[in-house]
């Protein structure tokens, strides 16, 4: 298996990336190394920490647990596509205002997780919101400020 590479077209944030990868290349690594989209962070690389969370066809997924060859033709959204040009997404502003991050490593994953859930379920109740946010790990904030930030963004997004 010297050259076991396959051509894949990844659609990320509305843009197409023609890449050539081995089947074993994860979506997380392909986004970072082949597409140059390094906003998605690779943490544990086995599905536990959630820092690599991206949105595939509307669903939040661990991009370290999918292979790039599996995602051909699907709509992928990453942290690079969350802001509207220079205008930050309400979640991004809320994370700044509520001190929802310190080192920032887990932040892209939390933002994509929260964005996908609030888009699907704008009126999510607090118990379910906390349950969803338990999916990802943060070693700085103690989670309370992340929960506050997402609650605030949810209220703002609902008010629109």
């Amino acid at each position: 298996m010297s050259d076991n590479k396959t051509d894949v077209i990844l659609k990320v944030n509305g843009k197409e990336y023609a890449i050539r990868v081995e089947p074993r290349r994860t979506l997380a690594d392909a986004l970072r190394d082949q597409c140059g989209l390094t906003g998605t962070n690779s943490g544990c690389e086995h599905g536990v920490c959630g820092s690599c969370t991206v949105i595939v066809d509307g669903d939040p997924v661990r991009s370290c647990l999918m292979f790039a060859v599996q995602v051909q033709g699907r709509q992928i959204r990453t942290i690079e596509g969350l802001a509207d040009g220079d205008k930050l997404h309400p979640l991004q502003r809320a994370f700044i205002e509520h001190h929802g991050l310190q080192c920032g490593f887990c932040t892209p994953g939390f933002l994509m997780l929260a964005a996908s859930v609030l888009e699907r379920e704008p009126d999510i109740n607090d118990e379910d919101l906390v349950e969803v946010l338990s999916s990802n790990l943060c070693r700085c904030t103690g989670y309370q400020n992340i929960i506050k930030a997402v609650r605030a963004a949810a209220a703002e997004m609902r008010a629109r």
């Binding site: 298996m1 076991n4 396959t6 081995e22 089947p23 074993r24 994860t26 690594d29 544990c44 690389e45 086995h46 599905g47 536990v48 959630g50 969370t53 669903d59 939040p60 997924v61 661990r62 370290c64 647990l65 999918m66 292979f67 060859v69 599996q70 997780l113 859930v117 349950e131 969803v132 338990s134 999916s135 990802n136």
Partner: protein, 286 residues
Amino acid sequence: MKPGQFAYHAPQTVQEAVAMLAEVASQEGRVLAGGQSLVPAMALRLALPAHLVDINGVAELGRLAAEAGELAIGACVRHARFERPVVDGPLGRLLSNVVRHIAHYPIRTRGTFCGSLANADPASEWCLVAATLGATMVAKSVRGTRTIAATDFFQGMMATALEPDELLVEARLPIFSPNTRFGFYEFNRRAGDFAIVMALAVYRIEHGVIVDPRVGVGGVEGHPRRIAAAEQALAGRAPASEVFRAAADAAAKTIQPIDSKPELAGYKHEVTRTAVRRALEAAEKS
């Protein structure tokens, strides 16, 4: 933390999938469904398949249908599908209740019901459901199709009756009557962790007494199973806390925890007693 090399196959039909599996099964070939257990194992190099047969492109495996008194769950039906009841009545509610205990939401959007059964982790919630309700598994290969009862399907820790060239195409759960009650209780240390102990209780109350009780325990032995001694302690008796306690005691006495450390085994007996009692109590209130 990078998976080893493998050849990737993406069949579009069940026929293609089993033909491919027949070809690669003897050469370390594995089925890739949701990948939420297999891919971590590959990242850790605990699994080094030389071939992956990805069934995610097989549209017919996404089937989820209530038919002839059973709920048929295709191989690509993901955990998240069950978050809202998929059938009216207690079975749909039971599955919605249990699914929230499976890992975390971004895992549930990918992982599959049948994948959990084929993986057969002792702490798998769906394995407990399949064993307790008496699910039927449908396995396909180029050699033909066969159905396997839950009692034969689960054979031990991460071990099932599936042959390497067989694809678990569907699991079938009996749809129980509207007056069926159920209770599920899982104990673990953090949300989303593997269960330390879990229990599922299902029964009806007719003329004031418990009828057709089913009590399953998971996370304790090599695979989840029904505990006959606990069921015998319930059948024909009026639901009451002392009856539930007797059944829970019977379950705690019967189980043989797989933990190598004796102090942990003792602990599991105690947690099993509590989990079974709480599942039975929850069923009474359901």
